[in-house]
Symmetry: C2
Subunit: 301 residues, 2 copies
């Protein structure tokens, strides 16, 4: 027979195992830690096996618990999807998207209007965070990740490649300080991007054959690509920008490419989401829209 333990106990286990903490699980489920403790005692005695090792240092899963946890997660994920499917049609639906702040401000947000227009019934929550979201713990439906692919246990679609290109404000180059060749960079302020996937100016200059001893590291530094681009727009110097993030400012002529070409990178933008979410209509709508934005069917000249 389909014999399941008390379902609330399973849900408590899933939360406790995920957080490795009864207290945080209790928070998530809006009950007291004692309730979780009792549920775990019930579940463990129902099973006849301990699920947690209560070390003084903290909670760890036993082998039985560790093996089962992913299946519980997956199971509750499916139930959640089923529930949301039942609800769709009754009121507006919502989708939570996790992206890096730079990608949000420079790529996603400027396009969201188009999505809203196409799907007025779907609300988008943009969850912009520097940390890579963990689908197991966060309440996120889909994410865009910048990296080299290979995301386990997730559906992943390659959205677009990224390449690197020097950019600056149109007004930056003057008769006194031109920007006609890489060597001219030595007489300009360089803006540095410390985020992942961007080569340093030092590397770029060396590859361009410019002797930059003691010069290539000077200038303002940012840990977010969007700040780098905005600094460049503001005329603060020349930046090595991610093309996909800078393209809007380039098209609007707020930025220009003084010389050089795009340098391709190994990194790309990936659209990822858990398998269990794939069936939600709002996820379908968003992902297909996102892919069509990333691969425009008719590239404009």
């Amino acid at each position: 027979m389909r014999k399941l333990p008390p379902l609330n106990a399973l849900r408590a286990f899933e939360a406790a195992g995920r957080h490795l903490s009864f207290s945080r699980a209790a928070d998530e489920l809006a009950v007291t830690p004692g309730a979780i403790s009792q549920q775990m005692r019930i579940l463990e005695s129902w099973l006849g096996t301990p699920l947690f090792k209560r070390d003084p240092k903290g909670l760890t899963l036993t082998e039985a618990g560790a093996v089962a946890l992913p299946h519980m997660r997956e199971g509750f994920d499916r139930l959640l999807t089923g529930t949301r499917l039942m609800q769709s049609g009754t009121g507006p639906s919502r989708i939570t998207v996790s992206v890096a702040p730079s990608f949000a401000s420079k790529w996603l947000v400027p396009r969201l209007d188009a999505f809203q227009e196409k799907h007025p019934d779907v609300d988008i929550y943009v969850h912009a965070d520097m940390d890579v979201v963990d689908f197991a713990t966060a309440d996120v439906d889909v994410a865009v990740r910048f990296g080299q692919g290979g995301y386990e246990d997730l559906v992943s679609d390659r959205l677009m490649s990224e390449s690197i290109i020097p950019v600056c404000a149109p007004s930056l180059a003057t008769a006194d300080t031109p920007l006609d060749e890489p060597g001219d960079l030595l007489r300009h302020t360089l803006i540095h991007d410390d985020s992942d996937g961007v080569p340093t100016w030092l590397m770029w200059l060396r590859a361009a054959g410019v002797d930059c001893e003691g010069v290539g590291t000077r200038g303002p530094r940012f840990n977010q690509s969007s700040l780098v681009i905005e600094a460049a727009v503001a005329g603060k110097g020349v930046a090595l920008a991610k093309y996909a993030l800078a393209v809007a400012d380039l098209e609007a002529a707020r930025l220009v490419v003084p010389f050089g070409h795009e340098t391709p990178t190994d990194f790309a933008y990936w659209l990822v989401y858990p398998e269990a979410k794939a069936a939600l209509p709002e996820v379908k709508a968003f992902t297909s829209w996102l892919k069509s934005e990333a691969h425009p069917p008719q590239p404009q000249g």
Copy 2:
């Protein structure tokens, strides 16, 4: 937030939707129909959407219910798998296998000893039924199906092909009534197999160029291949047998092939099971053993 309706209500919905009957769902969950009715009312009001159409003729799912049901099934399946994983190690485990009766008696059961020897901790329940088992309703872990593949929503592995061959008891051919060529069949009793995937004697005789007007349909008929083979073993006549089912009796010299060759069929034996079951150690053990039995690594001469 991960907001789920009362879990027992979801489980009741899953059962009621699967059976399309509150009463049968109540049976399955060992409660009264009234309890199911209440749970459904609670769930529907929680969602704000009806899930069933209560027609006088019977229960049907609304669109919302129909769309969500498979996800609920899948979800509870995963929870069940997780639960069984937690339990493994505590006491013997069990696996339920659904097969056709003929396959059970002529192929699977004779080999089960070997499995038991290899995995003494796993009990096998053989569920032999002429009807194709529905994983959605039956409590079955894996099944072997005879057909042409294309089983939806299931993991399916091709076990082995099937071919057809004439067989009879070694003593059947005598000096008076020899069995040296197809034409000799006209002076023998023909045993007919009405089960799927077996050509009729009429078709076989015609293909062999034997004029069999009014002869090809005489003789005993069985709806199960194992009965056909046993009738042949008992010397009741010549049968068109499924090779995979007859091979043991051929090797034991209880049957012989008077003439002719195997005729390949479009049908094969497929090992199928729901994705959610794939992680269970007993399922892994059984499926890999079954595959190794079906494709012997070192065919013996």
